[in-house]
Subunit: 347 residues, 2 copies
DNA sequence: GCGGATCGCGCAAACGTTTGCGCAAAGTTG
DNA sequence: CAACTTTGCGCAAACGTTTGCGCGATCCGC
């Protein structure tokens, strides 16, 4: 009756076997060889541990080691398929490496984001992968003064000393415009994303540059919007098409995001403007439904899976001590146009 | 030079102030009144803590208290908008309560799920919200022998002693069928979900029952599928429509899930069958794009936000000790049909 | 001015792990 | 067989928090 129920942790297991916790710990952490534990003892411990399902308690280990084997993932909107897919990729990769992922949704709110960062830090996340809220560099820049490894994605701030992964948004927007000008369009509108956010800024730069190259005056190309929501986009669409005289109306439009595209299509439908007859569309962000709306949408597809892989790899490299955590290192990926039926050729 | 840099934890803060850790701990955990700490002392500690940004280290607290203020969320596919929206709701609610959420994606794989559960348990998650892989009750049933609070959602197992929240899938499917029979349809196909999973079984029951009530022989109503993927659904769609002679062809079809709907529409498009002229559709699961495909889809909308709220509430109740963790308590929510343009009336 | 209640706070143990140091037994060398 | 090395393992401290118990000081009633 001395010992009652099954051992649940290293201490009890040790007592159960009449061995010290020290030895048990060493064996279970795979250090048996290094500390010259005998084959027999190792065996005995391993089998007993397996039998009772005993693993070292991560909390005790964390306290001692200062390592939590946890990373934080902060995105502005998990319900957005782009970020959902990204999250899926991140989680998958880090689980393989023995890490758990704390998921947080900043809901595009800078204050929430700031609080989230505090929480992650106090919970001692070993690394952070962040798609920041965007705009004015806010809470993230405060991270510079900490030592926690950080990787930024999508809504990056190019000057911060972090590894970052993003799409080449300038090139992507240029391609979108070229796709349209190549098919005879001269009046091309755009539906912008969150003002001040990196992707929006870059896409707009590319948009303007491509128009200039094509010799199209910017004044012929209305732009509206201001964030990544469907509601704003719907309103912006009405602003663009409702007031313009038919002959001044853009013949094509480029929405700068998935939700924006949703709002655009909704308004277009309400205004009885058909795609691509009345207006052509090249939409940013490939979505599960892109090929199913009618007409199927021509999109600018960001390589989400690769972004996830890359972001994960960068963070893992830092965690492994291979590279310094505060290196300004921007990784740029190419988007590609997937051509469907939402663009008509103007003769 | 005795003290060097800023205090970072309760101990250092205590030393800094010349007060015991005990008192600091009590003040910072809001227990000042209960332990009769003087106003002044409390004030002093609070301001110093605020100044240096000192919070109790959750790891130390976890070790001592056995509470991690962390819950685990396991879904079969975060990239699925239904689960993404659910995850968002869960995270939002639990963050408010001071909990963090460990997100896991079982990828519809029972082995992954089992490992995930082990991980969650060893990490001492205080509660688990699970949308199980489905089919044969697998790893989840093993949880019965633990004491960790568990809430099941969507893919539930009605006999397990857990709180569960799900849609009334039988009624939902019946309504879908009625919607069609009411508009003259007599040959109604269905595209089934994961074999053996609760939602699929219930929806199928409802499907059959409604047909029976309407006096329609089951033999007139083809069914195919076997999981929740678009690929399987696409193939099943071809099986149904390609082989059938036109007059035997179903005039309507009910896909049992979001991805399934994707596959269906894809195949229908490939087969040159237009909706709703050639075939009417009532699709399970409202999606962001449901109103944008053309024609806009009539869907069976599950109340995701409410499911998230409810699941969170149930878990929080258990965590608060208000209700027992092993109570078989199935909460059933009504789905509702949102009627759009994918159903035509047959005269 | 004395016994008892109340006030304000600290001591020390406990949670479960990892690890630097050390120590006895066994093996090796000369 | 003495001195020295290797083998195999344990002691105890440390990580940062919370909490039962206790202790001196102040206050109250009489």
């Amino acid at each position: 009756m001395g010992e009652s129920s099954d051992p649940t942790n290293l201490q009890e297991l040790a007592r159960h076997l009449g061995i010290s916790v020290t030895t048990v710990s060493r064996v279970l952490s795979g250090q048996a060889r290094r500390f010259r534990i005998s084959k027999q003892t190792e065996e005995r411990i391993q089998t007993a541990a397996a039998q009772f399902g005993v693993r070292p308690d991560p909390i005790g280990a964390s306290l001692r080691l200062g390592r939590t084997r946890t990373i934080g993932l902060i995105v502005p909107d998990v319900a957005n398929p782009f970020f959902a897919a990204f999250a899926q990729g991140i989680e998958r990769r880090f689980r393989k490496e023995g890490y758990a992922v704390l998921l947080c949704d900043s809901a595009e709110d800078a204050d929430v984001e700031a609080e989230l960062l505090r929480v992650m830090l106090s919970r001692k996340a070993e690394g952070l992968i962040i798609a920041p809220v965007g705009q004015k560099l806010g809470a993230v820049s405060a991270l510079v003064e900490t030592t926690v490894p950080v990787v930024l994605m999508d809504r990056i701030f190019p000057d911060l000393p972090f590894p970052m992964v993003a799409t080449d948004n300038i090139a992507a927007a240029k391609e979108a415009v070229h796709h349209l000008t190549g098919r005879g369009h001269r009046r091309i509108a755009c539906l912008r994303g969150l003002e001040g956010s990196f992707p929006d800024g870059e896409r707009f730069k590319g948009f303007q540059a491509a128009l200039k190259e094509a010799g199209i005056p910017l004044t012929d190309c209305p732009m509206a919007g201001g964030d990544y929501t469907a509601a704003t986009a719907a309103k912006a669409t009405r602003d663009i098409f409702q007031n313009a005289k038919p002959k001044n109306r853009p013949t094509a439009i480029i929405p700068f995001g998935g939700q924006i595209t949703l709002g655009l299509l909704e308004s277009l439908h309400a205004l009885n403007l058909s795609v691509p007859e009345a207006v052509s569309v090249v939409a940013f962000d490939e979505q599960p439904w892109s090929s199913l709306v009618s007409p199927p949408l021509t999109t600018v597809a960001q390589p989400v899976e690769e972004m996830a892989r890359l972001a994960a790899s960068r963070l893992l490299e830092v965690l492994a001590g291979k590279v310094h955590a505060r290196e300004n290192r921007l990784e740029v990926l190419k988007a590609k146009i997937v051509s469907r039926e939402s663009v008509r050729t103007i003769s």
